[in-house]
Symmetry: C2
Subunit: 360 residues, 2 copies
């Protein structure tokens, strides 16, 4: 038997430490919800959400006060081929925009009172030393996966392990009631579509979307690139590290690690669009119990998204045609989670409010 | 020509004072949105929402700070026939619950920082003198519409006029950037389904739902009551007052009045579930331009809801299986409206943030 590397051990240990969520608590919460002044089930998916979060947190009255939003950014070698509507330099420029509070996620994060953490997982010329950006940079973007693997297996493991360690460290310094994850990375819908095709066996033209808004010519080039990547690379749909290595992005690998860290610590995970959802599926391949910790915030128009969510039996909360990433949809989903928990905790009961119950 | 009554004049004058929304401002907002640091259209329906609100408010940078949530409550004669899962006394008891901050809408309203106003439009034994409830009470609930009209035409007009006057008065004392409307009234899904059938010609079994959660026996009774009401009452689908008189509820009539008042003052209107949406359609029959001022917050499982929204070409923002009423869905929709406006006003532009634009 081969000795595991440090990163491999860290991943294996954290995955092994993940428990099922607490269904006994969930039954208690359902009983409490039946006592609140509303017809049973009339708050629909908000009731399910509160039950879900209670089961994860192992608390009958979960509160979402210390809410973390993470944006993980990285560059992609494939972007050099011009498969995106924007040049690769935009990844770095948008991180600077986030630092200066100018991005959509800054506005939404502030609006819901969440703490925003920015992570450099591998941005070209990333140099954020005098900024609040957390550097987990694995490399200067990935390699172009039409010529060979996007990253080495070692770097894929290093990135996942870095995500786990990041989350565990964060939790030592701050309380985290829930985490919402999103990303920034020019070219990363190409990587997400390629991984989706690799996992599901679906054809590239089925799983590939227009990303940030590409024209027909670029769209065909994007599909060809994915076809080429699937042809020349070696991967096994059941080996998550092989998928990351062949077709991944560093931000996808780091997000998968954050999800492992969150599930290991019983923190609910709100996923964003197609890329953060692919990262979630990577984490679920590594440890299936992680699916119990996932909340899908929204459905994006990227065709791979529905496919990936179906694979994990997740039903998105919102369908607002959002396709920005940056955890923007996840932040809106977080706002619904906050409301769901407040309703559970703050509504009066029929008895307290002296309201007549259902006619039997 | 017959001389109009005071209420008829008030309704006619306020309807006549309603303008189209401002499409020139909307074009300017679209241009501004294209400059913000995100791919064009990538914030999906949130971008459309901001444009919509800007067109109503006639402002390029609309802000939603003074946000009003109104819950209008009334009783229904038909409820005496036991077509609901709850006894009629619950209407009054729930108003008391709202006064004591125990209802779902209290929790959600507080969470988004909205001001909540409660209106008694005709609650049985309504007696809220030492409370913040606004009394517009037209009567002790409506009459049972299986025996004759729910209310007189005069009372229908009085209720609509009271809603208009309420809104105009509110606006003299407070700034109102947006209004979200919902209701409370045991038996009112029966009234809403009956009005839907009357307007659309659809059969009662198509438009009738389970309301607060009734069993098969009660459901059949509910459908029979609606069939009977449609048979014995006289109404004209193009005469909104006749619909209210024959099949209405006082809360539905008052909400229709509030919508007229809001549109007349260029205040965006967020509608809630099936009952507040039926009230919106009543208002739109009175003055079609009101449809331009409506934002549909969510889709409820009540079958009449989709039918009513389709009739007004409204696409709901949320589909969370909410069926509580009380403006709970509208409050969640309001939260999305707030986010949409903040994104428009607070995001950086490509130029300011020095982010490279789209590759041409």
């Amino acid at each position: 038997m081969t000795k595991l590397s440090k990163d491999q051990s860290l991943i294996a240990e954290n995955c092994a430490a993940i428990s099922h969520i607490d269904t006994a608590i969930q039954d208690k919460v359902r009983k409490q919800q039946a006592k609140l002044t509303k017809p049973e089930g009339s708050l629909g998916r908000l009731e399910d959400l509160a039950v879900h979060i209670a089961g994860i947190r192992q608390k009958r009255d979960p509160t979402l006060i210390n809410n973390l939003v993470v944006v993980v950014a990285a560059d992609h070698g494939i972007a050099q081929q011009g498969i995106s509507a924007y040049p690769p330099v935009v990844t770095k420029q948008m991180m600077e925009n986030f630092i200066n509070q100018g991005g959509a996620i800054n506005v939404l994060g502030k609006s819901i009172g969440a703490r925003l953490v920015l992570i450099d997982a591998g941005i070209n010329n990333g140099n954020f030393e005098d900024s609040p950006v957390v550097s987990l940079s694995i490399g200067q973007g990935t390699d172009d996966f039409t010529h060979g693997p996007a990253m080495t297996r070692k770097n894929a493991e290093k990135a996942v392990a870095a995500g786990i360690t990041f989350f565990n460290n964060e939790l030592q310094n701050n309380q985290i009631d829930i985490v919402a994850c999103g990303e920034m990375g020019i070219g990363n819908t190409t990587s997400a579509a390629a991984i989706t095709a690799a996992i599901t066996g679906k054809k590239p033209q089925i799983v590939t979307g227009r990303g940030t808004g590409i024209d027909d010519f670029t769209y065909k080039k994007k599909i060809s690139a994915i076809e080429q990547a699937l042809k020349i690379n070696i991967f096994d749909p059941e080996d998550a590290i092989s998928l990351l290595s062949a077709l991944g992005g560093y931000e996808i690998a780091v997000m998968a690690g954050i999800y492992i860290g969150a599930a290991r610590n019983r923190v609910p995970i709100i996923i964003d669009g197609v890329i953060s959802s692919v990262a979630a599926l990577i984490a679920v391949i590594l440890e299936p119990k992680i699916s119990e910790y996932l909340i899908s915030s929204h459905l994006s128009p990227e065709p791979a998204h529905q496919i990936i969510l179906d694979r994990m039996n997740l039903i998105p909360l919102l369908d607002l045609e959002l396709r920005l990433g940056e955890a923007t949809g996840a932040a809106l989903g977080l706002s619904l989670c906050i409301s769901a928990c407040k309703l559970l905790n703050e509504m009066a009961t029929f008895t307290d409010a002296q309201v007549a119950g259902k006619i039997t």
